[in-house]
């Protein structure tokens, strides 16, 4: 009698579980979230009859203990079997419910994807709001930058980049204002830079004429302290390195000398000076000759012992 009652109770509990399972399936088919909640309720509903059955069996055992020990033992065994059966049924019901829910979710998801207009959704999506809600710092903190960089094809990126356009859009002045050039310069190894630089090639590409056209040489010269430059210059060393012979080979010394001679009239000067010297010499010889003539005449007068002086020379 008690077993029948207990069996009936168990059957009722099974039907109630079937009913709860059907309700859970229906609920899951209606809405994904609600289906999941219904599944949890169905699991709870299926567990409730088992727990009721267990409680009822406990009450029956207490009653039977009061009636007869054997009957009580039989009832305990029956109750133990019923508990085992209830546990297995409950586990089976849970697995079945989970499979049903998964199948339902997959079906519902496929249906939803087919029915939903993603373009419309994207159109209605407020990306700014989404972005505002995104914790960029947290995202960035989770990004493995090293891995990203290691996987990036930097060469390809650079090759595709329009560097000219980027440079054209860059505010160089603003960038320079933010750069501590002194610090950069202090860290710069100028010797290494110069050693690596192709100065000859760079100079060959420089348009010196254009640079000179833009330079105000008068202003530069007016600011130049020539005395200081000369004072610092090693003129002796510079002159010692000068190939004087090469310079002289390039200079038309004969032409320059000819121009100088023509300019100062050296030939006329030499001619006049030579002629003057010769004339003065001849005049001196003539004067000395005159004096000698007079001396000889006086001597001749004394030798002749003339009483009267010599007559003056005819004029």
């Amino acid at each position: 009698m008690t077993c029948d009652v207990l069996g009936g109770s168990l059957m009722d509990a099974g039907r109630l579980a079937d009913t709860a399972f059907g309700a859970a399936v229906v609920s899951a088919g209606a809405l994904l979230a609600r289906g999941a909640a219904a599944a949890r309720m169905a699991g709870g509903a299926a567990a409730l009859p088992a727990r009721v059955a267990g409680g009822t069996a406990g009450l029956a055992v207490s009653a039977v203990d009061a009636v007869a020990p054997e009957l009580a033992a039989g009832v305990r065994r029956s109750a133990a079997r019923l508990r085992g059966t209830g546990r297995s049924s409950r586990a089976e019901l849970r697995r079945t419910a989970e499979l049903a829910v998964r199948a339902a979710v997959a079906s519902v998801a496929a249906y939803v994807v087919e029915q939903v207009d993603l373009d419309a959704v994207a159109t209605r999506l407020d990306v700014n709001a989404v972005a505002a809600r995104v914790d960029v710092d947290a995202v960035a903190a989770r990004v493995d930058v090293d891995a990203v960089v290691a996987r990036a094809d930097v060469d390809a990126v650079v090759a595709r980049a329009d560097v000219d356009a980027v440079v054209a859009r860059a505010d160089i002045a603003a960038i320079l204002d933010r750069v501590d050039l002194d610090a950069v310069a202090s860290r710069l190894d100028v010797d290494a830079v110069v050693a690596r630089a192709d100065l000859d090639g760079a100079v060959a590409r420089v348009d010196i004429e254009a640079i000179l056209d833009r330079v105000d040489l008068d202003a530069v010269a007016s600011r130049l302290d020539v005395d200081a430059v000369v004072a610092r210059a090693n003129l002796d060393g510079a002159v010692a390195r000068v190939d004087i012979e090469a310079i002289l080979d390039r200079v038309d010394l004969i032409g320059i000398a000819q121009e100088v001679v023509d300019g100062i009239g050296l030939s006329d000067i030499v001619r006049e000076s030579t002629g003057s010297i010769a004339t003065e010499t001849v005049d001196e010889v003539r004067l000395q000759g005159m004096a000698a003539d007079d001396a000889v005449s006086r001597l001749a007068d004394r030798l002749r012992l003339r009483r009267q002086p010599r007559l003056p020379a005819p004029r």
């Binding site: 006049e272 003057s276 004339t279 001849v282 005049d283 010889v285 003539r286 004067l287 000759g289 005159m290 000698a292 003539d293 007079d294 000889v296 005449s297 001749a300 002749r304 010599r310 007559l311 020379a313 005819p314 004029r315």
Partner: protein
Amino acid sequence: MSHPAPPRQGEAAGIVTRGLAATVDVVLVGLGVAAVYLGWIGLLFLGSPTGFSWPTVPWGLLLLIGMALAFCYLTAGWATTGRTYGAALLGLRVLSRSGHHLHWAGAAARAALCTLVPLGLAWVAVSRRRRSLQDIVLGTRVVYDWSHSTAPSQSAPPRPR
């Protein structure tokens, strides 16, 4: 360049200046004789180079050549400018009795006397009027004249009577 006026232009030249001028002229004549001699040697060499031998020229011949050159040289100089190179160098000029250049005949006569009797120049030293033997014979005189013109200097006074 201006020079001071030469002194005593037109006065009779003494033995020293005339002797120096004669010395210069003798040297020039000697150079002329040497040139003639070397020219003659050159002609002999060109005429027979293989059989050439240095000829021996008698001194008398050289003296005659020198006298001939001196005659021509003195005649040309006195007849054209009144001075030889030696006279021009010492500032002397030979004038005629009238105070002009000698004619060719007078110049030739004076040149002949100077060539044949060169010691006649020594009479200048004892002459009161500084006249050589040639001057006394031909009536010429030699005066100081430093001018470069071929004509006698205007300051040259005429011969005193």
